[in-house]
Structure formats: structure tokens, C-alpha cells
Amino acid sequence: NSIIGENYRWPHTIPYVLEDSLEMNAKGVILNAFERYRLKTCIDFKPWAGETNYISVFKGSGCWSSVGNMRAGKQELSIGQNCDRIATIQHEFLHALGFWHEQSRSDRDDYVNIIWDRIQSGKEHNFNTYDDQASDTLNVPYDYTSVMHYSKTAFRNGTEPTIVTRIPDFMDVIGQRMDFSDSDLLKLNRLYNCSSSLSFMDSCDFELENVCGMIQSSGDNADWQRVSQVPGGPENDHSNMGQCKGSGFFMHFNSSSVNVGATAVLESRKLYPKRGFQCLQFYLYNSGSENNQLNIYIREYSAGNENGTLTLVEEIKGIPLGSWELYYVTMKVTNKFRVVFEGVKGTGASSGGLSIDDINLSETRCPHHIWRIRNFTQLIGSPDGTLYSPPFYSPKGYAFQIYLNLSHPENAGIYFHLISGANDDQLQWPCPWQQATMTLLDQNPDIRQQMSNQRSITTDPFMTTDNGNYFWDRPSKVGQVASFPNGTQFRRGRGYGTSAFITHERLKNRDFIKGNDVYILLTVEDISHLNSTQTQPVPTPDDNTHVNSTPGQPVPTSTSGIAGPCANFKCENDGVCAVRGGKAECRCPSGEDWWYLGERCEKKGSTRDTIIIAVSSTAAVFALMLIVTLVSVYCTRKKYRKKATSKTADISLENLQA
């Protein structure tokens, strides 16, 4: 549901400024939202470098945006208090990119009923529809799952819904604030003519016989087979979990038929990285020996190295038997490469082998930790539904634990706890500016269609509790005694999170629960660098921001104020030094009818001079033409006069003869 008019479009890479007023957590979440745009669309974001139009994200009152590119230079987008949720930010940026709300489409009455007497008085205008002259649905059907759709409770004056979907099943779907829906992406990619995304590389669920262009290696003992079930397990693939007869394929290495140490190698097609860092995500099933192993290599091709260089990235050992397991592998490749999966038969009995399914590769950061929760369904709404994760360490060394509360009748809550850990004596306390991102994974086989539910919190070292302690001080000082399942005691700090992480309704939707397993992905990163002001822009060379100096005013010799090519480059007559293509050059001042020119603005020009030059050159040309004309007339006349006299002479001779 987009605004009509090319003038409302942004360039594919949108300049932005994260203003100082933003909360730290909001800054981190905004950058995470940008990563979702880079993965699923062709929209990218870059720090403002002086372009004419840019989006200024600041902490205003509430969460709001304009619709489309206003071409007004600085365009504000407010991420105020409580707006620091990733889908809220995606929603506001979709407005900025030119999208209205879904239920204001011209055809919405075919799909929802608006219950007007349940709307707060004076708010009815928020439910207007707009004809297809004002907005364009881009030939995409009405989307109940859009992140731009009101929820059923929008602007209600009581407890009854203001929006009733004509298909009842969507009543608790409208108003989702998890991620882009498929149709959101279809519309955005249509509106901006997207042909590729920045960070998506490949996704494979092995449903097609071409197995995504993967190739078997010749230097191994066995091949991987594309099958839909294996007697020793798995009974079905991970993509469809046996729900679809005739489909549901995966790749299997039958280790029961080879010797210990035998290998089966499967290589991806050649891939071309852009960002230099990648995350590989896949599911692995072991129905063979518990000593079976999967090695992940990179075959990197550089100039003059046709066969590529094989580099071992990860050895996956101790693969649990009898269930699909999710794995992440971090990579750092800058040249053309293949991902190589090498199954190795381990010692011990082996009736089945190794199976792989639902591979996704993207140039994104992998989560730091995975918390797998088995037999999940029975925990929802149950008194037993209060779970603590195993302990994890952040990259900086902080120990933490996640608390998931499913016992509430409607909502699931999630909280982040610092706990006592081995590094505490070496760490800074209170814990400063560590952003914890907790993601409930939507296990859709294709990463581009995953609508994972994510919340982030950030440790504010200045936050205090009512008893005067620092909230994020070391757990051994402010925490409570707790015990791990094995009886080991430790200290747990207070939890920090939300009781409204996701509704149980939505939790049962999509692929959050698959094979009765749920995955919570965890990342804890240091965002203290976001505490500083975003670097000031240097005017971009292709930009039309002139620095017209008023004569007599002090003008910096370099607009960027940064030492560089302009440092020793002097411009005369108040010219301003600017850097274009790494070289210094002068931007000369100009006025109504005068200007300076020349490499250092050493020459002066004016309209009067130009006119004089033009007139005099015209006069000169005219005079020249006149002279040429006169001369040619004279010569012509002279020539004919000569001819005439010579003819008379000839005639007289003839007469004489005659």
C-alpha cells in the first residue's frame, strides 16, 4: 500500500543519522533493523555523508515517521521511549520508504469489517480508506500478516475489537510486530525494483532435484544421497517434517556401508561474497555412530588458483543421535568460494549416517549462542513453563542466563540475567552497555521468510534499584543464590526483559515450534561505541551543497575541517577547498553577476565582462565577414571587368580577319 509518485522514492542506499538523543538500546536495535532490510530487500543504509536528503532518527515523543521521501533535506523519524522494538522500527522505516497502513487500502472492505461504534470518538478518520489514485497496492493481495496492519484493538473505546477480519482465522494475526511478512517484502521489492539483496547468499531445502547446484566431490569414499527418509532415521526431512507426501527431501551420507574414517563430501555452488563475513545455518541429523563427525571447509578461489584452497572452518563432533539439530558456523571469506560439507564415519556401530537439511548462507553475523528447548508444546501456559537456560558467556566474558516464562495464560515473558562467572574479577562493573538480543527463531527453511520474534535490552551501568544498588553490578554482590541442575551454586542478578515477548497464539503460529523443539538465539554485544556522536559528514563530491562564502567572511580552507589534501592547498578570493576524488580543489565564491574562477579562484569573471566579450566578438566576426564580402565583391568585379575587356579585343581581331 504505497504512496504514488516517483518523487517520494529514496535511493536504494539511504543516508541516516542516529541522533545523540536516542537511547543506547534503540541505537543498537535500529542497526539490527537495518540488517533485516539488507537481508530481505535491496534497501541499504549508510551514515549520512552530506547528501541532500537523509533520515534523522531521533528520540522524539513516540514512534512516528513521514510517508515517503519528503526531499526536505533532514527528514525526521522518531524512535521514542518504548519504541525500541525491531519490528516497530521496521514499520516506521517502511512508512519512510513510502508505505501507508495496510487496512487503509482501497479494497480493504473486502477483507475486514470496521466496527465504527467501537472506535474512540474523534478517531474515526484513522480508519479511512484511500482510492487507488492516492495509493498503489502494487498488485499484491490484501495482507493480514503485514507488519503495517493495525491490530484488532487499534483505537478501541472499550474491550471489543475495532477490526474484524472476514476470515476469522486472521483475527489474532493482524497487527503482528515480529518482522516483514512475505507480502511486505514483495511490495517493497516491487516498489524499488529490487533484483538482489546485500546479505542473502543461498538457501537450500533440497526439494528440487538439482540440490541447489551442490556438487559431489570425487576425492571421497561415498556420495551424499537426496532421500526423503532413512530406515535408521530420520523418518522425514526438516523442511516439511513429513507433512507433505511426495516432498520432504534431505541429503544423507550412509555411514553404515563404509569403513571408519571414510568420507563423503558435498560442495556448494560457487558463491561471491560482498561483505567479507558470513553465517552458515543448517540442520544436522545423526543416525549413525555417535563418533560420526561433520567437517565444514571453505574452498576459496583466488587469482591463478583454479582448484581453490581448502580451509577447515569447523569440526562438528558429538552430534546427538536421533533428532534434527540446528548449527551455526561463522565464516570470513572475501573471495569467490564454495562451502564444503565433509561427513566422516566415526568408530562404533552405525546403522544410519549423517543427514543435512535447510541450509542457509548469508553475509550476516551468527548468533553467539543457541538455547534449544525440547518438548516445548506442553510447557505453554503450564505452571512448569518457567525455564532457565544453561549458562553462557558473552564475547566480553560476562556470564548470563535467560529466563523464559510460559506459565502466564496469554503471553510468554523473557528476561536476561547476569550471573556470577569465571571472569568477574577481570570485568568492568557495573556492566556497561552490553546489548543482549534474544530471538525466538521462526524455523522456516528459507531465511528470507523467517519472521523471527526478537527483543533486545542493554545494560545501563548507571541504572540503580530502589535499595540503592547498581542494577548491573556484579551478581556476587547484588545477585541471589541459585543452583544449576547439577547442584552447583552461583549468583543470579535480577532479570531484565519483558512479560510481553510474544503471545501464546502467535507462538503456535508459523514455524516457531518444529518437531516440538524451539530455539532461542542469543547475542550479547558491546555497543558502548554507539555512545559517541555519529561522525559529522564530509560533503559528498556528487553533492550540490555549495559553500558560498560571503566576501569578507572567514571561510575554512577545508569544508571538512579535517587535515588532508586541503591542508596545504590555498584558495584565493575566499575560495573554499573541497576534496573530490581524493584531490583538493577550490570551490570559488560567486555572486549575482560576478564570480571567481581558475584553479585557485585567482581570476574574476562577471556578467558585464561576458556581455562585453560577447558583443565585441560578435562585432569582430561581423566586421570580418564584411571585409571578406567586400574583398570578394571587388575581386569578382575585377575578374569580370578583365573578361569583358578581353572579349572586346577578341571581337575586334575577328573583324579584322573577316
Binding site: 514512534c63 512516528w64 510486530r177 535490552i457 503471545t503
Partner: protein
């Protein structure tokens, strides 16, 4: 003091609820219109 600190204060607020509670009267709850766009 409660075991856990709830950043949402125990309620699940949508964008429009947050803006309404702040007394904002934006177009369709979260849109800042410019003069031209008057839908």
C-alpha cells in the same frame, strides 16, 4: 523488589497505544503528514 524488571511495565503496547498515551494525535496513529500529502 520484584525478581524481574519488565521494560514494558507488564503491558503489550502497540505503536499506536504508545503514541496515544503520550497524547499524540498523528495521522493514523504514527504518520507525520506534510501539507501536500493530506490524505
Amino acid at each position: 523488589t520484584p525478581e524481574n524488571f519488565d521494560v514494558d511495565g507488564g503491558i503489550d503496547q502497540d505503536i499506536f497505544d504508545i503514541n496515544e498515551d503520550l497524547g499524540l494525535d498523528l495521522f493514523e496513529g504514527d504518520i507525520k503528514l506534510n501539507g501536500v500529502q493530506g490524505r
